[in-house]
């Protein structure tokens, strides 16, 4: 009995170590969104390409879809851009863009130069819609259900691994 008791502290220590080790490997940069299960926040913002045109929630028609928050000043956005093109062109995934705190001219040039994967872009120059969405940096990608609720959010560049893990099952195109 005494011998068993002697091992207990070591055992507790090992469990604690394992627990902390798991926590250490957890990706803290990808926070869980506070909006999961909720509707997309109400917005009324101009189009990126046409300042006269105003987009509202009801314009997000083709669902399920991705909403991608991006900007020309964001390096990781350029990294994920080819993957967004692949999703939209080859896999038929609808992607709506939110151009976040950017210059209109630069953003339009960027899309001309690198091709445009978006169905349309909302021009959020003040970043207010970004704050309503809990965006804390670009790029961020939101997965929107058929009913228009937010299912998941990925903060950081999107790639095929994350697509397979988190988003793919919601689209039956591929």
């Amino acid at each position: 009995m005494r011998k068993i008791l002697n091992v207990v502290p070591l055992l507790i220590f090992c469990i604690l170590l394992a627990y902390l080790f798991v926590l250490l490997n957890e990706d803290k940069n990808d926070l869980t969104s506070a909006l999961i299960g909720k509707e997309i926040p109400v917005f009324e913002l101009p189009s990126l390409k046409d300042p006269e045109l105003v987009f509202e929630n009801k314009d997000l028609k083709d669902l399920p879809a991705l909403i991608n928050v991006w900007a020309t000043w964001c390096a990781a956005c350029a990294v994920e851009h080819p993957f967004l093109l692949e999703l939209s062109n080859n896999k038929g995934v609808p992607i709506y863009g939110i151009n976040y705190k950017d210059s209109r001219k630069k953003a339009i040039d960027y899309l001309k130069r690198k091709k445009d994967p978006f169905k349309f872009n909302i021009f959020d120059s003040s970043g207010d819609l970004g704050i309503d969405l809990g965006v804390y940096g670009a790029p961020e990608t939101f997965l929107i259900s058929k009913k228009g609720t937010i299912i998941d959010r990925h903060a950081g560049a999107l790639n095929s691994d994350i697509w397979d893990q988190k988003f793919r099952i919601y689209f039956h195109q591929d």
């Binding site: 926070l31 869980t32 506070a34 970004g130 704050i131 309503d132 809990g134 804390y136």
Partner: protein, 133 residues
């Protein structure tokens, strides 16, 4: 001797004084009391981008935006609780420094008590064993 105490006390208050006067310059039109609330809120909300830092200690673009929002909400007459709820609804519990009590955080809340009582138990057993020997 008294002077020494005075310097020590002044030393403690100096940074806060500085922060308050800075806040007043960058965010005008706040009353004395509102500046205090602003400083308090930005010190006690986490920057979601640079997570080991408070909003006040961060110059990440998102921290600057959130400070502007807090400023705006204070000017609109919102209470501290309303402002915290506003941010929590968008950025999650994570932005508040006080973790909620749930199954994941229970180890933080109750772990220390558990360890305390376990230690007490071990000590008691040890003492009893020693006295019976």
């Amino acid at each position: 001797m008294k002077m020494r105490y005075f310097i020590l006390i002044a030393f403690f208050f100096f940074p806060l004084e500085l922060v308050q006067s800075n806040a007043k310059e960058v965010y005008p039109n706040l009353s004395e009391q509102e500046v205090g609330r602003f400083v308090d809120l930005t010190h006690n909300l986490r920057c979601p981008k640079c997570q080991s830092s408070s909003l006040s200690g961060s110059n990440a673009p998102i921290a600057i935006d959130l400070k502007k929002i807090i400023y705006k909400l204070i000017l609109e007459g919102k209470s501290n609780k309303q402002i915290k709820t506003y941010l929590k609804d968008r950025y999650g519990e994570y932005i508040l420094y006080d973790p909620p009590i749930n199954i994941f955080t229970s180890i933080l809340w109750f772990g220390p008590f558990l360890i305390f009582f376990l230690t007490l138990l071990v000590i008691l057993i040890y003492i009893r064993n020693r006295s019976t020997r």
